[in-house]
């Protein structure tokens, strides 16, 4: 088991390195120059000499292999580099924003599971019935309305009309726990809407499949109460594929909450990534991609562990 973990980690590290190199190449390949861009803000034409000077100061005039070498060198010393815009340390910024994105995703996942799982189970137990049909259409709707529309409507209702919450933003938990949670609730619910639909669909089909298994019939033959059969025999087995899909979705959310962060002014990692790409802030883009890749790999490991917890066959394999 340990050997397996080591082997996997080595492959994963290789994967992260490949991803980092690829991103490094591509981000330098696409048009746009950070120095030129920074000094061209607001539609003004900068003095080309000033741009050239800034490029020198930022080290962007060096050949690409040299820049790559120095970046990797920095990485090996645990240095993610500094922002090209204001020399802010990238690691510090990520450390500040990553927890917020993780919190957002965790809250969304929690909501999605809390709603998706029981409703998916209900729909499966009533498969083909009116409740099932209604829920399926509802899931289709919540899957397909874009988050930037839902988000805007949520702000309109809860912030502008009802005035229960601020129109987006972020308050540290330490400053005001209640406001923190209130501000978290809106974007988390917006993400959860689509995610719950996915969990719902997965749960429904998975439960239907498990319901047809022999051991469910055996449990019935034993005279076990229906509720216990669902809870004890069906859900746990049905959960295994649901966990896989949910984990995969959470993984993509790591850098994919950008629209929600934008609509709710949530200062997380995704919005930061988009800003960094728009500003061609190379070290920031690289830093975020590295962190997200590593997290993704860790998430996959965590899912495997969760598998083992759910399915003893995996545990003993």
């Amino acid at each position: 088991m340990l050997g397996y973990a080591v082997r996997r980690s080595v492959v994963a590290l290789g994967l992260v390195w490949v991803v980092a190199t690829l991103v490094f190449l591509v981000i330098h390949l696409i048009p746009g120059d950070p120095a030129e861009l920074l000094l061209s803000q607001g539609g003004f034409a900068p003095d080309p000499a000033a741009v050239a000077e800034l490029r020198t100061q930022l080290g962007l005039d060096r050949p690409l292999p040299v820049q790559y070498g120095s970046y990797i060198g920095g990485l090996l010393h645990g240095d993610l580099g500094h922002s090209l815009l204001d020399e802010h340390p990238v690691a510090e910024e990520i450390a500040l924003r990553l927890p917020r994105t993780l919190e957002l995703i965790a809250a969304a996942a929690l909501l999605a599971v809390v709603f998706g799982l029981p409703l998916g189970t209900l729909a499966a137990l009533r498969a083909g019935g009116p409740a099932d049909r209604a829920l399926s259409v509802l899931a289709g709707v919540s899957m397909s309305v874009p988050v930037f529309v839902v988000g805007t409507l949520v702000v309109l209702v809860f912030a502008q009309k009802l005035r229960w919450v601020s129109a987006g933003g972020f308050t540290p938990f330490s400053r005001d726990p209640l406001e923190h949670l209130a501000l978290l609730a809106m974007p988390a619910a917006t993400i959860a809407l689509g995610l719950a639909a996915v969990v719902f669909r997965m749960t429904r089909s998975s439960i239907l499949e498990v319901l047809g298994r022999d051991y469910v019939r055996t449990a019935m033959a034993k005279g076990v109460a229906p509720l216990r059969i669902v809870v004890h025999h069906v859900i746990r087995n049905a959960l295994i594929p649901v966990v896989t899909v949910l984990a995969l979705h959470l993984g993509t959310l790591l850098g994919g909450t950008v629209l929600v962060e934008y609509v709710f002014n949530w200062p997380g990692l995704s919005g930061y990534l988009v800003n960094a790409v728009e500003a061609r802030d190379y070290p920031e883009v690289m830093g975020i991609v590295l962190v997200i890749s590593v997290l993704f790999v860790l998430l996959n490991l965590a899912v495997d562990l969760l598998y083992a917890l759910l399915d003893p066959r995996v545990r003993h394999a």
Partner: protein
């Protein structure tokens, strides 16, 4: 700041009473104004141009020799008076003021500031202009004499620019220290900047506010929602579609000015836009009212000549509709240029900013009507700037403001001898224009300047170095309780941050 509704209620409501509202849950500091920015300043460097959001913050924390008053006219700031001294020198008399580090503002600081900007290692916006300064003489602590290599009538305007604040020479190597009414107390990158009043600001009784909290709201819908919900007191860059709702809201005040403008630039380095007739054909092909309506929701006005504001003393009424919408003329000009059968070209804009995208969509339709099949290219802004600088386009949509209401500001857009830039047509050199612009810059007599610029505009209307499209309304919106804040007129709208010193909040 009064705040009628609670945010705690949202959480409380989830557990107890759904419609419970608790008064005053949000901590409100009296005298602190919350300001909704359109973007977080990428960096705040006193001399470099890092955008209009940064400029607004710079106007809070720094002061220059001169500034603009609410009427849009130059006024003394750290300097109490200024005057030309012969053809190539300007003399500024400083008043008593202290920097935020407690040091007195002296002529040596001014000299040091100009040297920093002109330095070989400088990335300053006015690097080239300050390299044109031959010497900065400091006869005494209160007097600065700026000697230029060539006569330059624009020196006072440069000294009023937010790119030219006076910085204490004691801050050499460290954090730049200015003499503005506020200083940065705290900043969370990408989110907000908290400023507190500088108690030794040189203007007695100012600033009136205890502090400002500037919060970035990148999504314009959310920025407006935050104002309407009472989360912020003042917002910049009011989206045009929201202006009507805001001006109809009794609790809010909308303050707009037609300052920035949209225009087209051409690739003059290759066919067909190296031909002035083809450029004129484009200028006459577009119905500008539709741009004002579609891109700016009617909040703006048409621009059928060079971007010289009607309020400016250099405005030439006879040219007002020189590039009027006349598709027949447009077709004729194309036919004269041998392009009667129409042609295909690229139209560069960006999808990152709605106004650029929307303007391009309208322009494309009208070009189609005269036989020009323009293919839209809408990359992100960074790519668009890069393509523009390299001249990889045929026509491109641009939007900006001049750096002042002075016609010399137009050089930036129409002087083809300047370095290639995405803000002006690519490779389009019109020697006569360059001559006239240079003449205007060195002429101290206003009437003679007017004549020069009138001649210049006449040439430009024929040659079409750029094609004006529309003025756009630039708006601030605030709660009724905010007073003293003013949107400065015309091109100076981005200088409105100056008036934070007089702003107060009820």
């Amino acid at each position: 700041m009064s705040f009628p509704v609670s945010r705690r209620a949202f959480v409380a409501g989830a557990t107890a009473l759904p419609f419970l509202r608790i008064e005053g849950a949000r901590a409100v500091t009296p005298g602190v104004l919350t300001f909704g920015l359109s973007s977080f300043p990428p960096s705040i460097k006193p001399f470099a141009n890092t955008g209009t959001a940064a400029a607004t913050v710079k106007l809070m924390i720094y002061r220059g020799l001169l500034s603009y008053g609410k009427d849009g006219l130059l006024r003394g700031e750290l300097a109490e008076s200024w005057a030309p001294d012969g053809q190539t020198a300007w003399v500024f008399k400083l008043r008593d003021a202290v920097f935020q580090n407690g040091e007195k503002v002296t002529s040596a600081d001014v000299k040091w500031t100009i040297e920093q900007i002109a330095d070989e290692k400088s990335t300053a916006f006015f690097r080239k202009e300050m390299q044109g300064v031959a010497a900065v003489e400091t006869p005494d602590d209160k007097t600065v004499r700026i000697v230029t290599r060539e006569p330059n009538v624009t020196i006072p305007r440069l000294m009023a620019s937010y790119h030219l604040p006076i910085i204490s020479r004691a801050s050499d190597g460290g954090e730049p220290v200015g003499a503005g009414p506020f200083r940065i107390a705290a900043s969370e990158r990408g989110v907000s900047i908290e400023l507190e009043a500088f108690d030794r600001f040189f203007k007695p009784g100012l600033p009136k506010l205890k502090g400002i909290k500037a919060v970035a709201y990148k999504d314009e819908n959310l920025r407006v929602a935050a104002l309407q919900a009472g989360d912020v007191d003042l917002i910049e860059y009011v989206p045009w579609q929201s202006m009507e709702a805001i001006s109809n809201d009794p609790a809010l005040v909308l303050d707009t000015t037609d300052g920035p403008f949209m225009f087209l630039v051409f690739n003059g380095a290759k066919r067909p836009f190296d031909d002035a007739r083809v450029r004129r054909a484009v200028a006459h092909a577009i119905r500008r009212e539709d741009i004002v309506k579609a891109a700016f929701y009617g909040r703006g006005s048409t621009l059928e000549h060079l971007p010289i504001a009607p309020e400016s003393e250099f405005f030439n009424p006879e040219f007002k509709n020189a590039w009027n919408y006349d598709p027949e003329l447009s077709k004729k000009l194309l036919a004269d240029a041998g392009l009667g059968g129409g042609f295909t070209c690229t139209l560069l804009s960006t999808a990152q900013y709605g106004m650029h995208k929307n303007t391009a969509e309208v322009v494309q339709q009208y070009l189609m009507a005269v036989g020009i099949n323009a293919q839209l290219n809408l990359p992100d802004w960074a790519t668009r700037v890069s393509l523009g600088n390299k001249g990889q386009y045929d026509i491109a949509v641009m939007g900006t403001a001049a750096d002042s209401n002075d016609p010399d500001g137009l050089s930036n857009f129409i002087d083809g001898t300047l370095a290639p830039s995405y803000v002006r047509s690519h490779g389009l050199k019109i020697p006569r224009l360059t001559e006239l612009l240079a003449a205007g810059r060195t002429e101290f007599d206003t009437e003679k300047r007017k004549a020069i610029y009138k001649e210049m505009e006449k040439v430009a209307l024929e040659e079409v170095p750029i094609a004006g499209l529309s003025w756009r309304s630039q708006g601030y919106a605030m709660r009724k309780g905010v007073s003293g804040f003013k949107n400065l007129p015309g091109a100076l709208t981005f200088y409105s941050g100056t008036t934070f010193e007089e702003t107060s909040i009820a």
